[in-house]
């Protein structure tokens, strides 16, 4: 077993600052909610962040973390968090270009509409898999649009996402074999 230790405070330009792809897998909760933010802080040149079944701490626990100046690609598969935390996390990434979101239901109140939701730059690509109605509604409400949309989700609110991106969408992919079912089937 190899243990790797990085002394971030004394070596801010060390090895972690060269890491571009970061994965978190199977972390349903953090023993210290600020740990996630402190870990991410190390990866100042991170371009890709993938989180599988991992907890996203609340915005309060991430308030001192400047996230994703270069982060362009985000994968969130079955995240553990509330709906407003999920949306707040996505919206906190100013350079985000590609978003993959795979989750069916998520609890908590809906997020408030950000004041600049209509000024947000469109994504290059948006993949949605298994997304439930509350998440689809929040994506639409928060002004998240995309030029390429890949849908593997059957909820009725999906059309809202298409409406939001109607003027800019150039490529539309519908994964009808797996997930575009409804109760009528």
């Amino acid at each position: 077993m190899v243990r790797w230790h990085a002394n971030i405070p004394q070596d801010p330009d060390g090895l972690p600052s060269y890491v571009e792809d970061v994965n978190f897998d199977g972390i349903p909760s953090w023993s210290d909610p600020t740990l996630f933010g402190r870990v991410l802080k190390c990866f100042s040149r991170m371009k890709t962040l993938s989180m599988y079944q991992t907890n996203i701490p609340s915005p309060e626990d991430l308030r001192d973390v400047v996230l994703g100046r270069e982060l362009t690609y985000l994968v969130l598969a079955r995240p553990f968090c509330t709906l407003s935390t999920l949306m707040s996390f996505i919206l906190s990434l100013p350079a985000l270009e590609e978003l993959f979101l795979d989750t069916s239901t998520i609890g908590g109140p809906p997020p408030t509409t950000p004041p600049d939701s209509d000024k947000r730059n469109p994504l290059r690509a948006l993949w949605l898999s298994g997304v439930g109605s509350e998440i689809a509604a929040s994506i639409s409400q928060c002004g998240i649009t995309s030029r390429k949309i890949d849908l593997a989700a059957g909820d009725k609110m999906i059309e809202k996402i298409l409406v939001g991106s109607s003027q800019i969408v150039t490529e539309l992919l519908l994964q009808g074999t797996w997930l575009l079912w409804d109760s009528a089937d």
């Binding site: 298409l162 519908l174 074999t177 575009l180 409804d182 009528a184 089937d185």
Partner: protein, 147 residues
């Protein structure tokens, strides 16, 4: 005599269980999609979900759309293809898009049918008759594309 009785019986059955009209009005009318140039649809040749059919039929105006690729999970025997009502609806929807493209003087709308890996499609299988009659260009790939 026997055939006549069978015909009467079938007529009676169809009166009781009428064949549904092969058209499903979409649940939502999407606004025009002026920038949309390409679509990809992954589905089962024999079984299109109601939801997928609904989303497709919601798209009524896509003036820049030039190509739609259907990646189909096909049965192993496509010699006896019998389109479902939903497939017929999609055929009519494609025919509308093709006719619109033709009326606007743009090139033909191209539909590509391609099977899943390990499956095949038969050329000339009568998959989209309305679409081809409306001037759409149908390309059938008999075996799966290499990705």
């Amino acid at each position: 005599m026997g055939f006549r009785r069978l015909g009467v019986m079938l007529t009676n059955i169809l009166d009781v269980y009428p064949v549904p009209a092969p058209w499903y009005p979409p649940s939502v009318q999407l606004p025009p999609l002026p920038a949309l140039t390409a679509m990809g649809v992954t589905t089962d040749l024999e079984y299109l979900s109601a939801r997928l059919t609904d989303i497709l039929l919601c798209i009524r105006s896509a003036p820049a759309l030039s190509c739609i690729t259907f990646r189909l999970r096909t049965p192993f025997d496509t010699n006896n293809f019998r389109p479902s009502d939903r497939w017929i609806s999609v055929d009519k929807w494609l025919a509308q898009l093709a006719a619109h493209a033709k009326a606007k003087g743009k090139g033909s709308l191209v539909v590509v049918l391609t099977p899943w890996p390990g499956r095949s499609l038969r050329r000339g299988g009568g998959y989209l008759p309305e679409f081809t009659n409306a001037g759409g260009e149908l390309t059938i790939e008999t075996s799966a594309r290499r990705s």
